[in-house]
C-alpha cells in the first residue's frame, strides 16, 4: 500500500476507528515503513500531551446558578410570567437571581453590556481588590459591631448600619474608609470561610428602594441593594448563591429570616 494513503489513515488508526480490513492494512504497512511508524508515534505523543496539558474548564458557579435559575423558571411557567420578577428579568436580560426581601429587592446579576451602574460596580470591585492587595483590609479590626459602628461616626457624615452575622457564618471582621463615587464611604468587611466580603455603604438621597442592576466583573460577584436610604454594594469572590444569602441577611438584619 502507498505511504500517502496510509498516512491519511494514521489518525483514525490511532483512535481505533478504522474498520478491521483497513486497520489490518495499516498495521501491515507500519511494520515495513519507518516514516509512517514515526508519524504515528508523534501523533500518539501529541494526544498524550493534549490530555495532560490542556485544562478542562469546569462551569463556573455563577453560570451553574444561572442555568439552574432558568430551569427553575421553566418549571413554574405561570409564576415566571406574572410575578413581578418576570418584568425585572426582561429588563435585566441576563440577570442571574432575584431575591425579594422585606422592603427592598436585591439582585445578583451579570450583564453583557455596560449599564449605568456598571461604573459604580467597577469602582466597588476596584475597592475590593485594593483592600486585598494593599494589606489594608481594615482600619478598625474588630468583630464587635459596637466597636466598629462608633469608629465610623467620627469619620463620616452618616452612620452606616453595622451588624455582625457570625451566627450565620458571615462574621464581621472590621471596617475601613474607602472612596467611591467621589465621596467617602464606609467599607464593612465580612468573612465567609476563606472569602473576604466587602460591603460598601453610603447614603442615597433619591433612594427608591427596589431594583438596581449590578454586575459580575473580573471574576468578582457584585450585589447591589438599596435599603432605608442607604446604597449597599457587596463584592466578593464567593459564589453567587452564598453571596446572595449574605445579601439577604444584610437586607433584613433585624428580621428573622
Amino acid at each position: 500500500m502507498a505511504s500517502a494513503h496510509v498516512f491519511d489513515r494514521l489518525s483514525a488508526f490511532l483512535d481505533d476507528e478504522l474498520d478491521p480490513v483497513a486497520s489490518g492494512e495499516v498495521s501491515q504497512h507500519l511494520e515495513s515503513c519507518p516514516d509512517c511508524s514515526a508519524a504515528l508515534a508523534r501523533q500518539r505523543e501529541l494526544g498524550e500531551n493534549l490530555r495532560r496539558d490542556l485544562e478542562y474548564h469546569r462551569a463556573p458557579d455563577l453560570l451553574r446558578a444561572r442555568v439552574m435559575r432558568d430551569l427553575r423558571a421553566a418549571g413554574r411557567r405561570d409564576a415566571v410570567r406574572s410575578g413581578p420578577a418576570a418584568q425585572a428579568w426582561r429588563w435585566l436580560g441576563a440577570a442571574a437571581a432575584v431575591i425579594a426581601v422585606g422592603g427592598g429587592t436585591w439582585i445578583v446579576a451579570t450583564l453583557p453590556r455596560e449599564r449605568p451602574d456598571a461604573a459604580t460596580a467597577r469602582e466597588a470591585v476596584s475597592g475590593h481588590i485594593r483592600s486585598l492587595m494593599a494589606n489594608h483590609l481594615t482600619d478598625v479590626a474588630s468583630t464587635d459591631q459596637h466597636t466598629v459602628k462608633p469608629w465610623f461616626s467620627g469619620r463620616l457624615d452618616f452612620s452606616p448600619p453595622v451588624t455582625d452575622f457570625a451566627a450565620a457564618n458571615y462574621p464581621l471582621v472590621g471596617g475601613r474608609l474607602d472612596y467611591l463615587q467621589d465621596r467617602p464611604v464606609a467599607a464593612l468587611v465580612y468573612m465567609h470561610r476563606m472569602h473576604v466580603i466587602n460591603v460598601f455603604v453610603w447614603p442615597m438621597s433619591d433612594a427608591h428602594e427596589g431594583i438596581a442592576p449590578a454586575l459580575t466583573q473580573r471574576g468578582f460577584h457584585v450585589i447591589h441593594g438599596t435599603r432605608a436610604g442607604m446604597a449597599y454594594w457587596v463584592v466578593s469572590d464567593l459564589n453567587a448563591e452564598e453571596l446572595a444569602a449574605f445579601a439577604q441577611l444584610l437586607a433584613a438584619p433585624s428580621g428573622k429570616p
Binding site: 476507528e17 501523533q43 474548564h57 430551569l71
Partner: protein, 189 residues
C-alpha cells in the same frame, strides 16, 4: 444565518413539566461542564463562553420536548457548538454566513514539511498556544476527541457531519497542530 435567527430570545416561554425536568436533570444537566469546556475552547473567552452556554441551555430547555434520543451529551454539545459558531461567524464576517472550507484552512506546508523536524515540536510551544492557532473547527474536533473522549460517531452527531468528515478533520487537525508546534520550535532555534 441572520442575526434574528441566531438569537433565539423570542418564541414560546420555556417550560418543563416535572417529569421533563427530572429527565433533563438526568440526561442533559450532567454535561454542563462539558458544554462550558467546549464553548471555552471554541470562543477562547470565559465570559463569552458563559453567555453562549446559558443561551444554549435555554434553547435546550425550550426544545427538550423534541429530544427523543438517548445521547443527551451529544445533543447538548451540538446546541452549544451551534451557538458558539453563530457567534464566531458574526465575529469573522460581521454577520454573513461563511462556510468552513477545510482545504482553505490547510497549511500549504503540510505535505512538504519534513516530519522529522517536528519531532521536538511539543516541548517548545505549549499545546494550548498551538491549539489556539488552529481554526475553530479543528479545535472542536480535538477537544471532543481528546478531552471528552467521544467516538467518531458521537463527534459526527455533535458536529452534524458524516463520520468520514470527522476522520479527515481530526487527521488534519493533528497534522496542523504538529506543524504549528514545530514552527514554534524552529523559530526559537
Amino acid at each position: 444565518m441572520t442575526h434574528e435567527e441566531s438569537r433565539e430570545t423570542t418564541g414560546p416561554e420555556p417550560h418543563l413539566s416535572p417529569r421533563e425536568r427530572e429527565r433533563f436533570d438526568e440526561c442533559v444537566l450532567p454535561y454542563l461542564d462539558a458544554a462550558y469546556n467546549l464553548a471555552r475552547y471554541l470562543l477562547r473567552d470565559g465570559h463569552q463562553a458563559e453567555e453562549a452556554v446559558q443561551e444554549a441551555f435555554l434553547r435546550a430547555i425550550r426544545h427538550f420536548g423534541g429530544f427523543r434520543g438517548a445521547d443527551g451529551r451529544a445533543w447538548i454539545l451540538s446546541i452549544v457548538r451551534n451557538t458558539c459558531f453563530t457567534q464566531l461567524r458574526r465575529r469573522r464576517s460581521g454577520g454573513a454566513m461563511v462556510e468552513f472550507d477545510e482545504e482553505a484552512h490547510s497549511l500549504e506546508a503540510e505535505l512538504s514539511a519534513p516530519e522529522a523536524d517536528l519531532a521536538r515540536a511539543i516541548a517548545s510551544e505549549s499545546v494550548h498556544e498551538g491549539l489556539g492557532r488552529l481554526a475553530a473547527e479543528f479545535r472542536e474536533a480535538l477537544v471532543l476527541r481528546e478531552l471528552e473522549g467521544l467516538s467518531y460517531k458521537e463527534i459526527a452527531h455533535v458536529m452534524g457531519v458524516p463520520i468520514g468528515t470527522v476522520m479527515s478533520r481530526l487527521a488534519r487537525a493533528r497534522k496542523q497542530l504538529l506543524l504549528a508546534l514545530g514552527a514554534g520550535a524552529k523559530e526559537s532555534v
